[in-house]
């Protein structure tokens, strides 16, 4: 029997144990039992992908996209359901997975190719192609720690694309690197599909999905919200994100209709930012006494926003439950880019320096900071809110959350630098 489909997945369900007991998790796997306190990340997903087709998967953060990719690829076991792959599969779930910075580009390429199942002579044959595709000159034989992030991405993509797969599973990895590199990646994937191969492509960027895929699947809370023609599905998805159809999906009010900045400046493209819900499980440090329970953005009407546009007035709200009496609390936040670089941040200290508030045990404190959302280049950002006690120079951290909220800039006119400039006027005199 010859298979018609490159990928056939039936009834994929994945539950994660919510228990934090490590021994219980081990026992759970060994005994093969069902956990009662389980979180359902995927719920009965069916997916068929014929040979030579690219299918796009869209959905907001936490909708189960990455879990589905991991299960399709085989790095994660589904709790129920089956996956059938007909062909050698390669995945780009993370650029440069397993690269070691102390070793040269060539050495890392060798190991990576071996990891993907290439034999020694195949690797030797392909090394020249990889070197040419990566196009990083003498750096190919220098250790990775001397690379810029763009060179790293080039090398990683060059390796992943030369392992002879007929099915490619691509997570959102192409947001890195410069424009020329992104074009190269898209050209490669287009060519890959045109020559009869298969791609499953996950992206936040509806435009990227539409340009590469004829068919798209929209995931929401681990279920298929829609499937079909990619332009229709992505339109429905974008409408839902903007809250135009009134259904928020995950119980949280979807982003209120977004106002475009009043004076739309010379760029034709707006800068759109997706905001994840507050992540209660985000890593926390501090001395305690106060627990951050929520952190979100609201618009002028006070409604919670799932999507922002740069240039709009937003209010960042940090809500914390106080466990003991706290004198002069200060709310602060730090906004970071993908590499952990601090981009901007501020706190409430100066505004309340002369008349500090204090809070008794059991109360809920709320800090609000209103500002104009800056223009940022495409990429993933994170927000770290904090509550501290004391003064700016002498204080203790009560609760500090790393990556409490993720912000994905999915579309942006900014191409140079870390921040976009709101240019008011440009003139040349002579």
């Amino acid at each position: 029997m010859t298979a018609r489909n490159a990928i056939v997945a039936r009834g994929i369900t994945k539950t994660f144990s919510r228990s934090s007991n490590q021994v219980a998790k081990l026992w759970h796997v060994l005994s093969g039992g069902r956990s009662r306190n389980a979180f359902r990340a995927l719920d009965g997903i069916d997916l068929e992908v014929p040979f030579g087709e690219a299918v796009g998967i869209i959905g907001r953060n936490g909708s189960g996209k990455s879990t589905l990719l991991q299960i399709l690829y085989g790095t994660m076991e589904p709790s129920a359901g089956t996956v059938e792959l007909n062909g050698r599969t390669s995945a780009m779930l993370e650029l440069g997975a397993g690269f070691n910075p102390a070793f040269s580009g060539r050495e890392n390429a060798r190991l990576s190719a071996a990891v993907h199942g290439l034999a020694a002579d195949e690797i030797d044959n392909r090394m020249e192609d990889i070197e040419r595709f990566a196009d990083i000159g003498i750096y190919f034989d220098r250790p990775l720690q001397e690379y810029s992030s763009g060179m790293f991405a080039r090398l990683a993509f060059a390796v992943s694309s030369h392992v002879d797969a007929s099915i490619l599973i691509v997570d959102e990895i192409l947001g890195v690197g410069d424009n020329a590199f992104q074009k190269k990646c898209h050209a490669f994937m287009q060519g890959f599909v045109d020559s009869g191969n298969t791609i499953v492509f996950v992206s936040h960027d509806p435009a990227a999905v539409m340009s590469l895929c004829r068919r798209a699947v929209w995931l929401e809370n681990g279920r298929k919200a829609a499937e079909g023609d990619s332009s229709q599905v992505t339109k429905a998805y974008v409408d839902a994100l903007y809250g135009l159809d009134g259904s928020g999906g995950d119980g949280q009010p979807a982003g209120a209709p977004v106002e475009m900045p009043a004076e739309d400046w010379q760029w034709q493209k707006s800068c759109e930012i997706e905001v994840s819900p507050f992540r209660p499980e985000s890593p926390s440090h501090g001395f305690g006494g106060c627990v951050i329970e929520d952190c979100c953005f609201t618009g002028e009407d006070g409604g919670r926003l799932g999507r922002l546009v740069a240039g709009m007035q937003v209010t960042l709200i940090i809500r914390a439950r106080v466990a003991r009496r706290v004198d002069s609390p200060i709310f602060g936040f730090m906004f970071r880019d993908e590499n952990g670089q601090n981009l901007f941040g501020d706190n409430t200290y100066l505004a309340y320096k002369d008349e500090p508030v204090s809070a008794g045990a059991g109360t809920v404190l709320e800090g609000r900071m209103q500002f104009t959302m800056p223009y940022l280049p495409v990429g993933r950002y994170s927000l770290a809110p904090s509550v501290i006690e004391g003064t700016q120079s002498n204080h203790i951290h009560l609760d500090w959350r790393e990556e409490a909220v993720f912000l994905d800039v999915v579309r942006s006119p900014v191409t140079a630098g870390c921040l976009g400039l709101v240019m008011q006027k440009i003139e040349v005199d002579c």
Binding site: Q22, T75, L111
Partner: protein
């Protein structure tokens, strides 16, 4: 495929990858250092120097007077210590090894079971280097290579299988239970002193001796010492028992690992 061939088959069919990973693992720690691979020899040399001083000079040694030359005594310690550090390195690296290579679990379809072989392989290479060093010293001290050197691979082979099985078990549990690593670090010194490294099993009261034979290092240390330094023979009955125990741990470890690995991606 027969169950008992599976663990070896996985290693064999991924031998190319295994070799790349092993070389990488050995070089990772020394890459960028000025002396490079020389550290593989320097570390055991420092170790034996300090233990020779403490147990050979300061405290009265067990084996003084039993060997042809007093200079052989430090070498006996050397053999014991490098054998122990082989074992020590494997049990302390294994619990964290899967986590520290988590991209191989979550991002790539990968034969995770060969990572235990990598840990064992790296330690085995270091042991080999140390024993080569030992051979050089023995030639300097005794003027010839003892014939017992040829028997060492025979003695150490079952230990290799035993350690691989142990590495699988520790890999699996350590990935879920993060306390395992700390626990092993805490008990490792205890384990060192209940292994016959600085003394011979004969000095242990006979009532406690039976317990000592459950320590996998006891057989190796006693027999390696006998064939290298005292013209002794391998205790062949004990050897077969040791093999049986080693293979039991090896296959049980593999079965356990294969079961537990299905949940790795969920917890890391």
């Amino acid at each position: 495929m027969a169950v008992w061939i599976k663990p070896l088959h996985s290693l064999f069919s991924n031998r190319q990858l295994y070799w790349e990973l092993l070389v990488r693992d050995i070089l990772t720690n020394v890459r960028g250092s000025m002396l490079g691979l020389a550290w593989v020899l320097i570390t055991p040399l420092v170790l034996v120097a300090i233990y020779t001083f403490v147990f050979g000079v300061v405290l009265k040694s067990t084996w003084i007077g039993q060997t042809e030359s007093p200079l052989e005594v430090p070498l006996i310690y050397f053999l014991g210590l490098v054998t122990f550090s082989f074992f020590f390195e494997i049990i302390t690296r294994s619990p964290e090894f899967i986590r520290s290579n988590k991209t191989y679990v979550t991002k790539i379809v990968f034969p995770v079971d060969i990572l235990a072989w990598v840990v064992v392989g790296t330690s085995a290479m270091k042991l080999l280097a140390s024993i080569a060093l030992l051979a050089v010293f023995m030639v300097l001290v005794m003027g010839h290579l003892p014939a017992g050197l040829l028997l060492l691979p025979v003695i150490y082979l079952p230990l290799l299988f035993l350690c691989t099985g142990l590495a699988w078990i520790l890999n699996a549990i350590g990935t879920y239970v993060r306390d395992l690593y700390q626990f092993l670090l805490a008990v490792a010194p205890v384990f060192m002193f209940v292994s016959p490294i600085f003394y011979s099993i004969e000095q242990v009261p006979s009532s406690a001796r039976a317990v000592f034979w459950f320590n996998p290092l006891t057989f190796v240390l006693e027999n390696a010492r006998a064939v290298l330094f005292f013209d002794g023979r391998i205790d062949w009955t004990g050897y077969l028992t040791f093999w049986a125990g080693a293979l039991l741990v090896f296959f049980a470890g593999y079965a356990f690992f294969q079961k537990a690995r299905r949940g790795f991606a969920d917890v890391i």
